[in-house]
Structures are given as C-alpha cells and as structure tokens.
Amino acid sequence: MTSEMSKKISDDIIYFIEGIVLEYNLEKDFIEEDVLLKKKLSGVDDLAERISNKLLFSKTINDYIKNNKPLEEILVSFRIKKIIEQLINNRISFDDLNALLSQNIKVSPEVIQSITEKIKKNPSIKELIDSKIGETEELISNEEDSKKNTNTKSIGNILLKKIN
C-alpha cells in the first residue's frame, strides 16, 4: 500500500544514479567477481546499456530478483536509489544525505560529499521532492516529451548558452 502511494523515481534519476556509480567506480568489486558481466560492461559508456546488461547478464542479480531479495544488499546503485526514494517521498531531508550515504557506501568522505552535492543539485530530484503524488507521472512524461523535442547540442542551444 505504501509503495503504491509513494512517488516513483524517474528514468532521469535512474540514469543519474548509474552515472555516479560509473564515475566513482562504486560497483567495482561486484563487477570484478562476475566474468561475464565484466566482459559485457567493459568499454560500455551508454548508461542504459550498462543498466540493462547488469540486470540481464548477472546471475547473482537474476537470483536476487527471482527470490525477491533486496538488491541493495549487493548493488550500490540500488542503495543510492533507496536513499533517493526516501528523499523524494520526504522521509528524509537533504541534511540526512551525507550520513546515510556514508553508512551505505564504503568510499572516502570526499566522494560521499561529492555525491551528496550532486544529489542536492539534481533538478529532477528537486522537482519530485516538491511535487505531490499524482503529479509525478505528469512530470515524468513532460520530461520525456521535452527530451524528445530538444537537442542540447543544437546550434540554437549553443547560441543561447553563449549569450547567457
């Protein structure tokens, strides 16, 4: 019931999390242990492909999903996802972020601080925190539509950036 009433993270946030994981190599140990997964992820920068490869080619992940076991136990990305879900559903605040991340991810305090800052600055998370339940879908679909229609590398956008 609670999960039905809570706000769901958007695609943007999923990619954002995977970006952080990739940037700080947070799942290095997990990937190293799995030969097939390591092979499938080597040289892959596309975030969607990385996520889908992890979900499909890791036997450990497959087993966890099959047995309904929490993926947070093995994947850092899912730990971050859980924290962000608490954040967007106002169960925690930005002030709690640093402590929670430190508890869940075994990296240096500098990296934790950097991740905290990135989460705080993420516009999609901000929007979801401010939105009410029910508005989420609309927000997500609007995001998707706007993504579809604009190209950030366009001449128009470059010109606008230069003017700004």
Binding site: K8, I9, D11, I14, Y15, D46, A48, E49, I51, S52, L55, L56, F57, I61, N62, D63, I65, K66, L71, F78, K81, E137, I140, S141, E144, N149, T150, N151, T152, K153, S154, I155, G156, N157
Partner: protein, 679 residues
C-alpha cells in the same frame, strides 16, 4: 399488345424442329447472294456453301421438298452469320490489343520531349514544365524548413541528412523525364520483346478454317446438323470471351500509358517531397502520387505491369501454336461430343493463361491495379460475366436458402436441436472444404462448428451484397434474435454466467460472452476451467469481440500453455506487432493479461509509454509478469535478443539494417532500465 416473347419461342421451335427433321441442302442460288454481300458480309459464308454444293442446281430441291429446303437454308444462314460475326469480333479484339501495345511505345509514350519528333508528347511536356516550376518553389520552402530545424535543434541530425538529400533532389528534379524515360523504356523493351507480334491469329484461323470445313460439308446427309450448330455456337462463345480478354489487355496497356503520363508530369513534385521530413502534414499537402513514397511505388508498378502482361500473351501464343483441332461431325452425337470437348479444352488453355496473366499483372499494379481489377470486374459483371454471375446467384441462392431453412427449422424444434444442427453443418462444411477438422460428435466440436457456420453463412450474404442482390446495409445487420440476446446479455453478471452458462441459448451465450470479455478479459478467460473451454472462449472472442478485445485475447494466447497449439494469429487474423501497436496505454493496462506481458515478443513491441503505464497503473500480477522477464527463461530470451541485435549492429551489413538494430537495441535497453522502478 403483341407478345414478342411467344413469337421468339415459336421461331426458335420451328428452327430447331426443321433443322432436326430435314436433310441439309441448298436453297439460294449464288446469283441471289451476291447483291446481299453488299448489304451484310456474313452472306459470304452462304455464298461459299452454295458454290461448294452445286449453285442453282440446288434450287430444284425447293420444289421437291419446300419445308426441308427452307429449314436447311435457315440453318445455313444462321451458321454463316455466327461464323462471320465471330470472326469479325475476334479480328476487332486482336486489332484493339495490337494497337494498344504498339501505341504505348509510340504516340502514347510519355517520355518524348523533342518537339520535332513524331512521338512528341505535348501534354506531358507542358504539364511537366508547370509542375517542375511548382516543385522548385516547394524546394525553397523545404530549404527554410530544414534551416529552422537545424537552428532549433529539432531532429537536427535528420535535418542535416535532409540537406544532403535536398541538394541531390534539387538537381534531379530537372532530369526526371530522363530518369523516368530510362525506366519506362527499359520496361517497354522487355514488354515488347514478348508482344512484338501482337496476339497470334492462328487460333482464329484454325477455328475458322475448321468451321468452314464443317460448314462446307453441310450438304452431305451423314453430317449431324445439331452438332454443326453447337460448334458454331462454341466458336461464337470463344470469340466473345477472347474479345473480352483482348479488350481488357488493351485497356491495361492504354491505362498504363495514361497513368505513366500523369506520373511523369507529377514526378518533379514527388521528387521534391523527398526533401521534406516524413510527416502526416506533408502527406496531406502532397497526397497520393504527389508524395514520393506513393509516387515511386506506383511508378515502378505501372512500369513493370506490362512485363507479366506481355509474357502471358507470349505464353498464350505458344499454347495456341500447339493447337490441333479435330472435330468429328461425321459420326453420332457421342463421337462429336467427345471430339468437341477435347477441342474446347484445348481452346480454353490459352485463354486461361491470358486470364491468369491478366490478374497477375494487375496484382503487380498495387492499389491502382486493384482499381483496374475492380473496373474489369464491373465490366465483366455487366457484359460477358453476367451469365456466369447469374449462374452464381442461382447456385448460391438455394444454398443460402437451404442454410437459412435449416437454421430456421432447427429453431422451431428447440434450442438444443438448432445448436446441434448448425454446429454439425458448420463442422461438416469445415471438414470437407476447410483446413480445420472439427469433431462434431463432441459438444465443443459442435460449438466450434456453429462459429464456422455463421462464418460460412455470412460469406454468400456478403457476395450477394457485392453483386447488389441484397441491400448492402443488410449484411452484418443483427437478426431479431441477436438483438434480443444482446439486450438479455446486459443484465448478466460474471457469476450468473459461470453458474448458468449451460442454460442460455446460443445467441444469448454469444452475446453474454462478448459483453463479459469486453468488460474484463482476464476474468472471462480465467473463468475457463479446462484448456478446451479456454480455446472455445478465445474462439468466441475471435468471432464476435471488438478489435480491442480481440487484440488483447490474441496476446493472451502467447505463453499461455492452456491455449493449446492452435495458430491463434490465423484465428484472430493478426500478429503481435499489429496487436500491440493498435492499443493505447490505457488499453494495455486494462486488457493485457499477465500471461501476455510475460512474453518477450510482447515486451519488445510495447512502447515506453505503454510500459510505463503498466508500471505505474498496472496490477501486481501484471508488474510481476514483466519483472519475471529478468529471471529464468525470460532473461534468457531477452539476452538472446540483445545479443542478436548487437551482432547485427557490429557486423558489416546494410546501413538501414544496422541503424534499425541500433534503434531496437536502444529501445530495449531503455525499457529494461524502466523495470528498475518495479524491482
């Protein structure tokens, strides 16, 4: 009022009676016939007979046996008339076809723009000039659209690619007659290589020669006058049929030329539309053949349409050259009938080749070809095929009446008997004529037979409407019984249906099942306790459900082991891609059962919007079904699919194929990413 019908009957009776009861001889002297030739050419035949059998000497018979001699004269005149008329009809048909084939590469040719040439086409040259100017103006607008797209970053890559197209097309527009001419001339060369000599007239000569030979022997007593007369009629029939076929071919060649005129005229604008991005608005501004895709398809189809047509004419000629007609009129009726049947079959072969070739040709003509086919069908209906259609009507009518009678009578003796009767009839028809074998000894078999029966009953009704035998509105109209059943079904709930389904009449049951399936498909299908009952319910939906329910029911058959090994795509007349794409996001949530959602093929065809709708608003069972794709056999199927797409993407191959694989892989990855929301 004078009754012409009775007069016609009397004349026919006298004609047949006299022909059968009197020996054949001559009645008119050669000298009397000559002036008549000036009035009507068929008398030439009579003249031939008179010459062959003794001229004026035959006139003596008129005194000795007046009735017999007059009747012989009537038979001879009729024969000569038929023979000459048939010959003239055939010659005209041949002439029309020959002229049509020839003119398609001479004065009807759409590509000669040289004003000094004999085959200069003023219409196409003028029309093309006007359209080219319009196309150049359209290109300017296209350039502006591309520029705006690049500036705003809307589909920028596409717009850049379009710019390259733009430059190429701007150049090509001015050379479309040369490009079109090259393709048209190529196809003309191939076509003409087949029909260089037009239709071979050896069959006409063969038949006419044989006929004259038979006719010249009319004076001898051992000839069978009835047989001779039948042969004359057969000859006339062939002449009419061949005239019709030749005319159809001629129309096809003339139509081809005229349509190619139009296509060449609008070619600049069609080339220009290639510059614009694919959009429904562009298609509205440049409809039909003015839009590149449609133009190119039509142009190629109409260029090559002559090749199968020419080839079938060539093959028919080959068949004709092998004809050896040998009709025996000396013996009795039996001998003559045998030789006549053999001759008829021989003569029919080239016509069958021509007719088959014609339909193959028009099927190559795509949509416009279908229109020609429709015109041909109408012409045939109103002319030569009238008799055949009448025959069909007569054949269909007793069948429809009989089926209706069985249905009606069975209704009178009770629901059980009626269901049994229609079920058995439907099953029997399917067993004899259909691919599916139905065991009507079982209840389920009879049920299936009833669906088939309704399907078969509907066909002659549709045919009848097609040939305007019944008002078109009456086809598909509900009977009183069906209307009442639909009314009754409104008050029946799932619980009532599951408890009392055996008690309902067939129309009531059909109406209730339709209503319940449309209300909640999952519940309706889950209510089936056995695989046989599930199959029956699925077939019931396929027969009566609306499109949305049919789609969803079809998708439910995938991965559903209870649904058996039936080819459901065939039953529902669809496939996964079509079914999924025809559903809205809302439909997907409401109609797709967990069974179908657990299928990789269905998952692959879902759009991101449809998938998100299920993730956000679907039931727990639905989301679990999708989640199961990440484990076990589902995961294996998805990884296989990804591997296949990656192989296509990475290995050398056609650019289009690689781009398509990249797009599909990207979509698949994005959809898998979305599954994280439900893990």
């Amino acid at each position: 009022m004078f009754n012409f019908k009775i007069l016609k009957i009397i004349i026919c009776f006298l004609f047949i009676f006299l022909t059968l009861t009197t020996p054949i001889g001559n009645v008119f002297a050669e000298d009397i016939v000559d002036p008549l030739l000036l009035i009507f050419p068929p008398f030439a035949g009579i003249k031939t007979i008179i010459s062959a059998t003794g001229g004026l000497g035959g006139a003596i018979d008129l005194i000795g046996n007046p009735v017999g001699t007059i009747s012989q004269g009537i038979a001879a005149s009729a024969g000569a008339l038929i023979c000459t008329a048939a010959r003239i009809i055939l010659d005209i048909g041949q002439m029309i076809l020959y002229s049509a084939v020839n003119s398609s590469s001479t004065w009807l040719s759409p590509t000669d723009f040289d004003a000094n040439s004999e085959t200069y086409n003023n219409v196409v040259a003028t029309g093309w000039g006007i359209v080219r100017n319009v196309a150049n103006a359209a290109l300017v607008i296209g350039l502006v659209v591309i520029a705006i797209n690049i500036i705003l970053g809307r589909e920028e890559n596409k717009a850049k690619k379009t710019l390259i197209n733009f430059i190429i097309i701007a150049l090509l527009i001015n050379f479309t007659p040369i490009i079109c001419g090259f393709i048209i001339d190529g196809s003309n060369i191939l076509t003409k290589s087949f029909v260089a000599g037009g239709i071979d007239n050896s069959m006409v000569g063969n038949l006419a020669g044989k006929f004259t030979e038979i006719f010249n022997d009319l004076g001898t007593d051992n000839k069978n006058p009835v047989g001779t007369f039948v042969i004359m009629l057969v000859f006339l029939m062939f002449a009419l049929v061949s005239f019709f076929i030749y005319t159809l071919y001629a129309l096809l060649f003339i139509g081809r030329s005229i349509i190619l005129w139009l296509l060449v005229i609008v070619s600049p604008i069609a080339f220009a539309t290639k510059v614009f991005p694919e959009s429904k608005y562009i298609k509205k501004i440049f409809p039909s053949i003015t839009y590149w895709d449609d133009w190119w398809e039509s142009f190629l189809q109409w260029c090559v349409i002559g090749i199968p047509a020419g080839m079938s004419i060539y093959l028919a000629n080959m068949t004709i050259s092998k004809l050896t007609l040998n009709i025996n009129t000396s013996g009795g009726i039996e001998d003559m009938a045998g030789s006549l049947v053999s001759a008829v079959i021989q003569c029919l072969t080239p016509f069958i080749v021509l007719v088959a070739g014609f339909f193959i040709s028009i099927s190559a003509g795509g949509q416009i070809g279908s229109a020609v086919s429709g015109i041909a069908s109408n012409v045939w209906t109103k002319t030569g095929g009238r008799a055949v259609d009448r025959g069909k009507e007569l054949a269909a009518a007793p069948w429809v009446k009989a089926a209706g009678y069985v249905e009606g009578r069975a209704g009178a003796v009770g629901t059980w008997a009626k269901e049994g009767a229609t079920g058995r009839i439907g099953g029997a028809i399917s067993n004899v004529f259909g691919n599916e074998k139905i065991d009507t000894s079982t209840k389920e078999g009879r049920e299936e037979g009833r669906y088939k029966f309704r399907e078969y009953i509907g066909k002659p009704r549709e045919l009848a409407a097609k040939y305007s035998l019944v008002a078109p509105g009456t086809v598909g109209q509900k009977s009183k019984e069906e209307t009442e059943a639909a009314e009754f079904a409104k008050g029946v709930s799932f619980n009532n249906y599951e408890k009392l389904s055996e008690r309902y009449s067939q129309p009531q049951r059909t109406a209730i099942e339709k209503k319940l399936a449309e209300e909640d498909l999952s519940k309706f299908l889950e209510g089936a306790k056995t695989p046989i009952e599930l199959e029956r319910r699925l077939k019931s939906i396929a027969a009566t459900g609306n499109d949305k329910t049919k789609n969803a029911a079809f998708l439910n058959t995938i991965n559903n082991t209870k649904a058996g090994t039936t080819d459901w795509g065939k039953v529902f007349k669809t496939d996964i891609g079509k079914s999924v794409s025809s559903m809205s996001a809302k439909d997907v949530v409401e109609k797709l059962t967990p069974n179908s959602l657990g299928n990789v093929d269905v998952f692959e065809k879902l759009t991101l919007k449809q998938l998100n709708a299920i993730i956000d608003r679907g039931s727990r069972e639905q989301t679990d079904a999708i989640k199961s794709l990440l484990t076990g056999s589902g995961s294996k199927a998805l990884t296989d699919r990804k591997d296949t797409l990656e192989n296509i993407k990475n290995l050398p191959g056609p650019v289009d194929q690689i781009e398509e694989a990249e797009q599909k892989l990207d979509d698949l990855n994005k959809k898998i990413v979305n599954l994280i929301k439900i893990i």
